[in-house]
Assembly symmetry: D2
Homo-oligomer: 345 residues x 4
């Protein structure tokens, strides 16, 4: 059941409904509705009296199963803040960095390069899910330390993957945003723990997850008390193996219809081919994405993993310049700003 309450009655009325629900043993959670009021999601049905409070705007008995993630609860777009960076705001956010953290010096060097190219967040793997037990599985905690050091120096907030519930606190200590990888989208114990870690979560879509399943996984994080979830489309598995995965950009405008959560796109994994990354990055932004996550290395062919999909800092810079101009163009920003961008690009 979803209950919306108007701005002037929000505090008291919300309190009453939450108390009534919990007294009846029902899961209930409140969230700003994005228009000044409050929205309450209740996992079950309140009896008539229990929600009949001042300021009720609407009561929805039939709703999406992902009630906290749904636009039915909050018909506005959420902005998720990671340090100074706002994901879901006016500017596209670009997270960039190496596939895997190799050592401190290179991590800092790449961080500087991607910052100079215009990226506003640093990505990089310390714990790496690898198909083979014999493959390099990442540096672990030392990798996290290198990332933290690179942040110290560049000021870029850090997003990095966490693979198991017991590592959540460790990864949260060193990083600014927890990445849940595609293989773990339905790792529910991990989602619950990430939901209680006090850090924003970047939730990648499983490569054969339906849009609804993806929303339900976001709901796990939200229902664990963490409102700061950013979705990430990273390619689905299809019959066509000419690309490693099939970046599903349809998911971008569709997700925007279904949820208030921001969404970014990962054309590196989504295509697996370096030569397609630039065009698919721009296409992702044109489709409405709030940002990009990209694998970047000064010498892509020498990267320890994902070499074939890694771009150079030069390509990154071009993507960011064109991407900003494109977003300004499509979102109807004043023409003069676009002009400035174009002239300086």
């Amino acid at each position: 059941m979803l209950v919306r309450i108007a701005a002037h009655n929000a505090v008291t009325s919300t309190e009453i409904v939450l108390t009534n629900a919990r007294t009846l043993g029902l899961d209930a959670r409140a969230m700003s509705d994005g228009q000044g009021g409050m929205a309450i999601g209740i996992d079950g049905e309140l009896p008539d009296g229990a929600w009949d409070v001042p300021g009720v705007i609407s009561v929805l008995r039939k709703h999406k199963p992902y009630m906290l993630a749904s636009r039915e609860l909050r018909d506005a777009r959420s902005v998720v803040r990671v340090g100074d960076v706002a994901i879901g705001g006016d500017e596209p956010v670009v997270m960039a960095g190496p596939c895997v953290i190799e050592n401190e010096r290179d991590t800092i060097e790449i961080a500087r390069m991607v910052k100079e190219a215009g990226a506003t967040m640093l990505r990089g793997g310390a714990f790496k899910p690898r198909s083979s037990p014999y493959a390099f599985q990442g540096l672990g905690e030392p990798g996290l330390q290198h990332l933290a050091r690179a942040r110290e120096i560049t000021g870029l907030p850090v997003v990095t993957e966490v693979m198991e519930p017991d590592q959540v606190e460790l990864v949260a200590d060193y990083s600014d945003m927890l990445q849940i990888g595609a293989r773990n989208m339905s790792n529910f114990p991990l989602l619950k723990r990430a939901g209680r870690a006090g850090k924003p979560v970047l939730l990648k879509r499983g490569f054969s997850a339906t849009i609804d399943e993806w929303m339900m996984s976001a709901e796990y994080v939200l229902a664990s008390g963490n409102p700061d979830v950013v979705l990430c489309e990273r390619g689905i598995r299809s019959f066509d193996t000419s690309t490693r995965f099939t970046l599903d950009l349809n998911a971008v405008p569709l997700a925007r219809e279904l949820t208030h959560l921001p969404i970014v796109v990962d054309p590196s994994h989504g295509t697996g081919r370096r030569s397609l990354v630039e065009r698919m990055s721009l296409a992702g932004l044109a489709a409405g994405a709030d940002g990009l996550i990209l694998e970047v290395h000064p010498n892509p062919d020498q990267a320890l993993c994902d070499a074939s999909q890694t771009i150079t800092p030069e390509t990154l810079q071009r993507i960011i310049r064109k991407g900003h101009a494109l977003v300004q163009l499509l979102d109807g920003e004043p023409v003069t700003d676009v002009l400035t961008t174009l002239i300086t690009a």
Copy 2:
């Protein structure tokens, strides 16, 4: 075997190689290489002397199976002309119109509307492939006549589907471009006949065709003597049924790498959802498409078919204006032109 011959020797040397190949019973076909010279595709191996002519730039013994469609033969982008319209040139081409031709009056009205909105070609089905034998299968020849009448009045060239070999001449008589639908991408007798009809061909990708299979189908048309093929990505079948199909934009930059043929995108069929068409159209152009094909109706909900994916002329106009600006922006046109577009948009 692929043989490239330099500009100044092109005519005579090409003639010799073709003659030698055909004397040996081999299929051989020449094409401009896009750089002033000629390129010859031979289905088999010439003995050493047979290609040793003045001006030979390169000989490729190992090449893609779709040798005429491949960039190995012609490392430039082809432009396909349909009436006054150039597909694959600087401007994105927009083909728009109803799913199915219903009557003359409406056809003319819609043609006028899409022209006013900025479309440069008219689409509409006279022969319709329908899953059910009991569903309306299109008007047939009268539908073609309505399309021809609408062209007469608006000047818009017409593209319309042909479903069987025996109809090719009929459809070619009335229209300017033959559409081969997704279900017929591997209808080889139809491809061969369309290749001999003297009209450009719009070749839709089958909804579970790999990129290579699509190129091979284009090769059927090219090998039948018709160089004017435009590819159309229209959505693939995936496990996710939240959209009717999954528009595969990865195919756009990938096709541009593999072939010199132009490529357009069909977000109407590719998504099956009206609300996603605008964003996916823009994403398609950002991905590098040479144009769009869109289902448009003044009252989408009353369209005889595909209502749920049909947009209004107003949406079409917005897509075209934004789309032109976006293409100018990304392809590095002078800033002042973009400015003009933005101001007038």
Copy 3:
């Protein structure tokens, strides 16, 4: 609308309903209901009086869109006769032969071999759909003549593919059953023509066709007046490329629930790997298939096409012996028969 009429009133009442429907301009077709009475499928709604005839058992206003193919019309299993062979009866039917007809002598030799191995029908391609325009496309009419000659000698009825509407009569002249290939499952003009050719049709499932789309394609043939359709599951396209296609045996028991038409399985194309054909043949029969279609060649590695999925006559014989025993076992035949089979196998 579906109308069922009891046995004793069948003839007259059916006549009346058909006449009433057609007078109203509705498509209507009658079929034995498999229980002595008649079933009438009408594409539309008859007014109340128009179907109120003696002997009406039931009237169904909501039904599957494939009303003639559905078990709602005929709740029994149809038997399709091809020469002396009954597909859908007690015995599994095995159609075997080369991928492509190469010459008369080999065709006759293979026909003798598969007959000796226990096959009851001969398969072989005279017209071959090939991805490449440069690949061997089959012998055409001479190939049909070789097939006809092999039938004359062995007595095995022949099934062979027809690829375009204009060839239907030609292929029907030489063969006993028309095969519609996977690529042509939605070639509606071809389905209609095949429906009027007076020969049974083997309808392969498109490799990305849903079960419902497959049933609708069968409906095209049935609605064209041909009740003799046999379905063939031949593998779907999935993300996993370790087999050429993914033979979808779920389709077998599911099709048996949905339709009265017989169904056979093609493990040769369905797996693309010789070593999997025997096990998947047996699995297909265990799943409930009425028969198999298999590519067989005395020297599989020298077959002109599909070498990697072609089995030897020895493997064929083993499949047939085990297959017969398995069907007797599962369908509850008297134990002594099974015993006999086992002893002689």
Copy 4:
């Protein structure tokens, strides 16, 4: 690198190669080769002298990435023992029970029923992965206790799912075999922990995992020191939604070619439709599966989860009787045994 050593030198020579490998810092693991000798998998290359020991049969430098799971290491079929039950032996093993453990009484009742029907292992979920955070997630430890109690009473060994690394020891304490669910096939921390728990592992295939990825996940368990892995095919995700998943029986004979590990089939999840379970169970055994895992409930429609795919004990009994007879028939058991089975069935 794979090294095979003959029987009479096995102990000493194996010891030497292992020591040499480990001295060089390489991962190395020995396993019986199924023919009396030993096989050693080394993650890397030994220098020439280091493997030149008495009794070396073969050295393979190029091999599958899943070297311990591969038949290249052990060209025989492994038998995994769970209590008294041998999976991979002559008899098909049937694991049956409710989707989710509801309470002690029902668990015992169902256990008795499935035992009587012929099942030799009990399945049932105490920890349940659910798409929705609001859905019932299983009883947890009390559920494990009910299972243990049912085992005590019936003697049936228990297999149950474990969802996170920290639960592995708990689940191992109560059960006889650890199930890794499809959603966790690539949960590498969980695989590693399960590999060290001292209990056999049932590894379900992820619903969009390739065969190679599945083998690599098995390799994680094997490389962690646990040789007792049983694979389970449980349906893949395809474009066709007429069944919940698409049980991929091709995977059965293919897995038998690639690995020595036993494989069972789950037609309950693989189809999601009760009416298809019997036929697909038999097809799975005909395809070569070593057993089945089935959801059973005395009143399927009242089961707390997966009601639509749950069968009755009566259906289970029929599947087991027919399944045993079918396996005897196909694997060439003496006819008299089959006869006995048929007569008593």
